[in-house]
Amino acid sequence: MASNTFQPIKSIGRHHGAGSKPLVTLLLWISAILAAFPFYWMVRSSVMLEKQIMRFPPIWIPSSPTLQNFADVLTKQPFGRYILNSLLVALVVTLGQLIVASMGAYAFARLRFPGRDRIFLVYLATMIIPTQVTLIPQYVLISQFGWVDSYAALTVPFLSSALLTFLLRQFFLSIPRDLEDSARIDGAGYFRTFATIVIPLSGPPLATSALLAFMGSWTNFLWPLIVTRSRDLRTVPVGLAALQEEMSRTNYAQIMAGSVLAMLPMFILFLFLQKYIIASVATTGMKG
């Protein structure tokens, strides 16, 4: 499923395949308009007043952009809090998954212990179980811990990730053993070998894993919907859905402002880490 090359895609393209170059360029840019249009429409609607966006035929470029909707949304709903919650939860989940999965992956890749391969197989098997299967017992467990409506409920259930354990194990297997052996001969214990030899060599796969964990946490909707009750614990998607629900009369200008706020942090992250995010898909996606 995964390859061991966690390199970002450097050059794309060759001069072959269907279609002449001008035609390809044209089709490419038509597709780009399709990709970008909903975002344009979201931003355009967010900086216009309600009565302006309800005009038909629509105004394509707002003549006097306003930030009124953003101000309204931020006072009606603690949107800043939602974003902070999402960031906090995503950071904790990412860090937790990285630590837990990299250590587990090291055990699976390098250490011999009874039942290792069988346990690993069980890890793999759970990857095809849909999240809905574990949802109800997880929720009951969380409520028995008294964790409903707490940060613990939003983070702790995600500490173990079979996917990241699998990815990192595959990478660790590709590291030449000699490096660790020489460290072991020099008297380093298992943990020191892991922390000082293996981890520093694993930058790219760890970055890939971190991005997968972060994006997964940021876009998660169902679980936070189930375990949060109070406004103060809502994450961005849950808060956004609530904004739409709680609005007595649907005000699309404000909903679009909320959507812009919700996507802004990921947009910024993506702007800077594009190469790695795309590589994370390419590497986790392919090569059987």
């Binding site: 490419l28 999965a101 095809i128 109800i136 919700a262 990921m266």
Partner: protein
């Protein structure tokens, strides 16, 4: 090396305390490394999965003691008209989604692979929908699909197509949700197929060109077979994820109109978390799992028929 060390330890400690052998020490280290993950895995993954299988055979509201009812939940599900609607909707959604996204992502991958002007910008734009959460995206599309003020009806009006109730018409709502999903996932799957395309050696095309093949022939006889493993993989994961579809329905239609867009996952959410029929909902979860498992299995069995093994 370490064997020698363990013998000396044994001699020093004497027989009273059983010393750790080399493999014992390694097992202990493994426990340290794997322990935290294993506990979390058992508590939040394997444990709940196993427990939900049991819950599926009970009546339970999540608080009282579960009452064993055997296969009753499954029997009831088989005769539940709403559940059957949910299965039908989800299957239709998946079939449409997988077919369409397979075509659009392959098309986009081929375009991106040509390295035309602005390729990196276009790739960036097609990736934006994926990093955006589904709720934001769903809200934007709800607005685009708006019957009176939606931009889609306006654009269609320009070419003479009368306005449609995209989300309000029971014959259109599911398709409208599929279109949104195709838009959101095309870039993601295109990247996977692109990775496959980049493994196609250039000289194959040159040889085909010399033999007089046109571009379409090179595409169908060379490109498609060589990227078929990537397409196979895309179909597999697209199918698995779209059978679990939930957010779009929840935000855009709430399963309506007339249950035309209720999905299995949404049915489960309503039964489990609104009516607190946890036993019934767990049975739904296992039916969902069995469907996904059966389709995955079938896919693997059919793999040899069309996937080119390199």
């Amino acid at each position: 090396m370490a064997v020698a060390r363990s013998t000396t330890t044994r001699q020093r400690l004497g027989p009273a305390i059983r010393p750790l052998t080399n493999s014992g020490r390694e097992t202990l280290a493994a426990l340290g490394f794997l322990g935290p993950g294993l506990i979390a895995f058992l508590a939040f993954s394997l444990g709940p999965a196993t427990y939900s299988l049991f819950v599926g055979f009970t009546k339970w509201n999540g608080l009282s003691t579960p009452v064993w009812v055997g296969l009753q939940n499954y029997v009831e599900l088989a005769g539940d008209p709403l559940f059957r609607t949910a299965v039908r909707n989800t299957a239709a959604f998946t079939a449409l989604f997988v077919a369409l996204v397979g075509i659009t992502s392959t098309g986009l991958a081929v375009l991106l692979n040509r390295q035309a002007f602005g390729t990196s910008v276009v790739r960036f734009l097609w990736f934006l929908p994926i990093v955006t959460d589904m709720v934001s995206v769903s809200l934007v599309w709800t607005w685009i699909y708006h019957f009176r003020f939606g931009v889609l009806n306006f654009l269609l009006g320009l070419v003479g197509i009368p306005p449609q109730a995209w989300l309000g018409d029971k014959n259109l709502a599911l398709i409208s949700l599929v279109i949104l999903s195709v838009w959101r996932w095309t870039g993601y799957y295109a990247i996977i197929i692109l990775a496959g395309l980049q493994g196609v050696p250039n000289d194959l095309y040159e040889a085909a060109h010399i033999d007089g093949a046109n571009r379409w022939q090179s595409f169908t006889r060379i490109t498609l077979p060589l990227i078929s493993p990537a397409i196979f993989f895309v179909i597999m994961i697209a199918m698995m994820s779209s059978f679990q579809v939930f957010e779009q329905m929840w935000v855009m239609t709430r399963g309506g109109p007339e249950d035309a867009t209720i999905s299995i996952a949404m049915f489960l959410y309503i039964e489990g978390f609104q009516f607190l029929n946890m036993g019934y909902a767990s049975a739904v979860a296992w039916v969902l799992f069995l469907i996904i498992f059966a389709l995955t299995f079938l896919n693997w069995r059919l793999r040899g028929r069309w996937v080119h093994e390199g």
